[in-house]
Structures are given as C-alpha cells and as structure tokens.
C-alpha cells in the first residue's frame, strides 16, 4: 500500500492569493500539467472535467455530483487492443503530462487512499490505476459547505481534513490559502508565481472556519461496532425487508467514491477489437449471473446485503478500514430515498 511522504512542519509555509487571481494559478498550472477541476455541467451539476483555462473552474460548489474516482478508475477504460486473434497491444499508460486534480474535497481524497488498498495492494498491482495515481498531484479544497447528508466526520475525515492530499487549500472568503502537505505538493506550490506568504492571522482564521464547517456536518452515525455486528447477522431476517424498495439501479455504487467493482468485456468491429473494463454494480442481477443461468445472489436481498457487507465488513477485514467516506452521495441521489445512515442505525439496533 502507498505511504504518503509528508514534509517537515518547518517547510509548511502557507501561501495565499486573492480570490480574483485564482485563475492565474490555474492558467500557470495548465501550461505544465493536465488540470482537472470542478466544472459546471448544468444548473445543478458540478463535476470534474479537464480544465483548459482557469475561468472554466467552478470553485464555488458543495461537492461534485460524481466522485473523483473516475479520474483514476474511469467508467470505461481500454485494457488493451488487438487485431484478429493477434496478441494484446497495451498502449502507453502514462499520461502525456503529469496531472493535477484541483479542488477535490477531503472525502474524495480519502477515497483514493481506500482505492489504493485495492489497486495498489500487497498482491496484484493494477497498472492502469497506479500509473494515473503516481502521475497525479492532488489539491484538496476544504469543504465550507457540507450538505445535509454529509457525515464525513463519522468516518474520521472532516471537512477540513489535510490527509491524503498533496496541497491543502481553503477559501478564506476573499482569498485562498495553500498549505503544502507532501514534498511533491510543496515543489509545485513553490513554482506558482503570484502567491504571497499567508498572513499571521490566517492560521487562526482557518481554525475558526474549520469549526464552522464541522458544525454544519449535522448527521452522525455510530460505526464502532458495525463490522463485528455485521459478522453476526448474515442470516438475520432483517435482510428480508431492507431491500424491498430498492430498485436495483446503480446510482449508489456508481456515485460512491469507494465502490470499485468492474466488468471486463470485449468489443470488436471487423478485425479490430479491444478489451475494456467498465464499472459494474453489485446491485445488478447480472453482476453474478453465470452462463449456466445460476445466480448465487439471486434476489435484491442478497445483493443489498453484499453491498453493505462489502463496505462495512469485508473491506474492513481485508484492508482495515471502512469503505465509506461519508460524502452522502448515495443518500442524496437514491431515487427511492434509501438512507444509508438509517440502514446502519437499524443494523446497530438489531438484537
């Protein structure tokens, strides 16, 4: 698993820039890096996209509709191509320019460390993910606008978390401050022209904003005993009812920053083909449907159980952490109003 080098606190000189100059920072970065940041897609949707000039970035947002995982684990990705029955041709995995993700929320940044455990774990390495990850620098933007269903706090993250990032940014109202977290982040920060040293009062201001943001994270969930509890209730009648209203769509898994299940399929036109991997979801019946017609997770009950067990028990058993960052996307977007926090509370309350 990846261990992030951290820099000495003496080198952590906070920088700052006026808000109306932030585009010049992005414009500078764009010359050297592929920069991805939050982009307004429609009235309600802000999502990560490639930024060609600073003005395209939308830094006034709560969170992106889709999580940042797609920048490392795209929804559809070519593993290799081929002609006829010839051997596989893998194209260069390294991006043309190193990448910067600008304005990721701390919850999404945390999700990357969880995905690292899967794709950059102790056994099989996933080169497609790892190469993108190694060539990417993360600028997190502290979250001053947690939404009603955010519960990152319960996962030990918090809207101003400085973990799992290279540069930490925060919006002070009229200015942004930047704090280098890793040597790589510090390097880039040092090269950006126009940044001034932060003011002596900025640290205090940051602290206050942090408390203010944390107070907006209204929902809490007790996860302390959940993995052990789940281990005891695999056959509990609770599962017979919980899935009833679930439609079996892929929203909660596709919009989850940590869900990473995928399918591998071939596509071919004439002689040219490719093997691609695409996101898949444990909510779908086809996920485990075998060619024989047998499906070990035949109904919504088994599929819902798998989803919760995977996030809150199996992942913990395999990687030592819960596969959830409390971003609330699954709750916000569930078409039938399923509420993960309520489901967990119900599990906690089971005898």
């Amino acid at each position: 698993m990846r261990t992030t080098p951290r820099i000495l606190s003496s080198e952590k000189i906070m920088k700052t820039i006026k808000k109306d100059k932030i585009n010049t920072v992005l414009d500078f970065l764009i010359k050297k890096y592929q920069v991805f940041g939050p982009v307004q897609k429609d009235d309600l949707v802000v999502d990560f996209g490639r930024i060609q000039n600073g003005a395209q970035a939308c830094l006034e947002f709560s969170n992106t509709n889709e999580p940042a995982k797609k920048l490392f684990f795209p929804q559809a990705e070519t593993l290799f191509s081929y002609t006829g029955s010839d051997a596989a041709q893998v194209s260069e995995l390294k991006p043309e320019k190193p990448r910067i993700i600008f304005g990721m929320r701390p919850c999404d940044a945390k999700s990357l460390s969880l995905l690292d455990a899967v794709f950059d774990g102790p056994d099989y390495k996933d080169p497609y993910y790892i190469v993108k990850r190694k060539n990417t620098t993360i600028f997190t933007l502290a979250c001053r606008r947690p939404r009603s269903n955010c519960f990152c706090d319960s996962l030990g993250i918090g809207p101003f978390s400085k973990k799992d990032t290279d540069v930490f940014m925060a919006d002070l109202g009229d200015r942004y401050v930047f704090e280098p977290i890793t040597p790589g982040g510090a390097d880039i920060l040092n090269k950006i022209p126009g940044l001034e040293n932060a003011r002596p009062t900025d640290a205090e201001r940051l602290k206050n904003l942090r408390s203010e943001a944390e107070s907006k994270v209204a929902r809490k969930v007790d996860l302390d005993n959940l993995p052990e509890k789940l281990a005891r209730i695999f056959d509990h009648p609770f599962w017979d009812g919980i899935h009833q209203k679930c439609l079996g769509c892929g929203i909660c898994t596709y919009l989850c920053p940590t869900c990473h299940c995928f399918d591998i399929v071939d596509e071919q036109k004439d002689d040219k083909g490719r093997r691609i991997r695409i996101w898949d979801s444990c909510s779908y019946p086809t996920f485990t449907l075998e060619a024989s017609g047998h499906n070990p997770r035949a109904t919504g009950k088994e599929r819902m159980r798998q989803r919760l067990m995977h996030k809150f028990r199996y992942f913990v058993e395999n990687y030592g952490e819960i596969a959830c960052v409390g971003c609330g996307r699954c709750i916000n977007h569930c078409p039938v109003g399923s509420d993960l926090i309520r489901e967990i509370e119900n599990i906690n309350n089971l005898k």
Partner: protein, 282 residues
C-alpha cells in the same frame, strides 16, 4: 510492473468431445512463446482465465497435472447462454486464444502428505481433481500419500468424464475407483444413485483422511454433510468453489464469499473456512 490483465497467447493443439451430450470438450493448449511456458508454474487446483479476442474471458480449472509439461488441459462445458464457452466449442485446432494465470491458491498438497485421500468429483467438476489424481499417482509422489480413493459421480455413463484416465487408473492397485450414475443403465457394472447417498453407503473412514469434494453446488453441499456425518473433521473436508469471475485477481468484486475472494483466496477452501465465512456454497 507486470500487467495482470494481459493474456499470454496460446494455441489450441488438440480438442476432443468428452461426453455423449456433446456439451463438454477437452482442450489441450500450448504456449506460443517459450518464455511463457517456462514461467507458467502452477499447482493442482489452480485455474486460468481463457479468452478469445472479440468474445471475452472466463475462468476454468486446470485439468492437467503440473508434471505434464507438454500441454495445458481444460475441459469446458458449453452453455446455450455462454458466449465464451460457445465460442470455445467452435474453435478448431490451431486457433490462437489467450490465457491468464495461474490463478487461485490450489489444493494444499503439503498438508495432505501422509494422509489417505478421498477424492469426490461430480459432473464436469472433475477437472482439477483429474490434475490432483494424476499428480498424486505420479511415481515420485505416490509414496507420500496413504490410500487413495477416487469417487466419481455422473448423470449417466455417457457423461462420465476422462474415461481413458479412469480405465487406466482402474488397472492400478494403488487407487480405488468408485463410479456412480444417477439412474440404472443396462450393463453398467458400477454403482447407481446420487453422489451423497452412495457416498454414505460407501462410508469411507475418516481416519487420517483428507476428503476433496468438487461438483455442482448441491452435490458439494450434500456430500459435505455426509462426510461430516462420517466424522471427517471440518478442516479435512476440502472443496473448490466456482463463481462468475472477471479479473481473477481479487479486484472486480463479484466472487467473494464473506471477505474472501474465490479467485484470489480460493478457489480451494476447507469446510471449516466456509463455515467461518457464513457460507457453505456461496
């Protein structure tokens, strides 16, 4: 960094029909690149992903013994809805396909030494059990094991897999072969009945014995119950599981039972492990 998704090219050296129904074929494969052949080291019970460009990929147990260097053998059942299995059955000798592996943990051969072996196979799940039987019967290995019994169940005589191997092994006096079919058939010299009740009648001794059970889920479940009833300890009942797989390396997320992935942590599990994972079959 090794790319675990890229298959090695293999050539289909020989293919033959395995059963009367015509839905089972055995494929003998050889590596196109000699380097791949040298690097491909596997143990009995492991599997590989076979793929055809433009069609797809699926996991299959390796049916040949690691001591047989010439070819890699797989037996594949064709399903009407199986895209890849159908395409595999349509391949002619000389075709190129892809192979990734070896994958999975394999049978715990070290732990099984000096034990009596009871090998129980049903239907076409005999594949990795054939590899195991070939391996333990090899002159270098046979002295390390006690009594060996191979118990094979099939729907009818025409569906019995690896008839040549069974005939050859039947001639030996260092392995006992028990064959059973579901319903009586004229001139069938062996046992008749479903695997579990016949196994129960046979009542193999659990004394210093490891049982390895492979077959359809229902057969695994019933036979494990019989063996448990015969006082086989849970850790001495070994089975190999199957589930839909895509990556084969514990990432794509579908083939888990509890927190264990059949592809990476299995496919071989003891009954004890399965109980701890809240699952007998899945």
């Amino acid at each position: 960094m090794k790319n675990p998704y890229v298959p090695m090219p293999v050539k289909l050296k020989a293919v033959r029909l395995e059963n009367e129904t015509g839905d089972l074929k055995t494929f003998d494969l050889v590596f196109v690149n000699s380097g791949d052949a040298e690097n491909f080291k596997f143990v009995c019970g492991q599997f590989a992903m076979l793929s055809i460009n433009g069609v797809g990929e699926a996991p299959f147990g390796i049916a040949s013994s690691p001591l047989t260097k010439e070819v890699l053998r797989f037996t594949v059942k064709k399903y009407p809805k199986g895209v890849l299995t159908t395409a595999l059955h349509n391949l002619s000798e000389g075709s190129t396909l892809g192979l990734r592996g070896p994958l999975g943990n394999g049978f715990p051969l070290e732990k099984m030494t000096s034990k009596n072996l009871l090998v129980v196979g049903g239907g076409f799940a005999l594949t990795t059990l054939r590899a195991l039987t070939k391996y333990v019967l090899h002159e270098k290995n046979r002295p390390h094991y006690g009594d060996i019994t191979l118990f094979v169940a099939a729907r009818d005589p025409g569906e019995m897999l690896y008839k040549d191997d069974l005939a050859e092994w039947s001639k030996r006096n260092d392995i006992e072969i028990v064959q059973t079919i579901d319903k009586p058939v004229e001139d069938w010299p062996h046992k008749v009945g479903f695997a579990a009740p016949v196994l129960k009648d046979l009542a193999p001794s659990a004394q210093n014995t490891t049982a390895v059970v492979c077959g359809p889920p229902i057969m695994i479940e019933t036979c494990i119950k019989v063996l448990a009833g015969l006082h086989f300890p849970d850790e001495e009942i070994i089975t190999s599981l199957e589930m839909k797989m895509k990556c084969g390396i514990g990432k794509c997320g579908r083939c888990n039972i509890g927190s264990k992935y059949i592809c990476k942590d299995g496919p071989v599990f003891t009954y004890k492990q399965l109980k701890e994972l809240n699952s007998v079959t899945v």
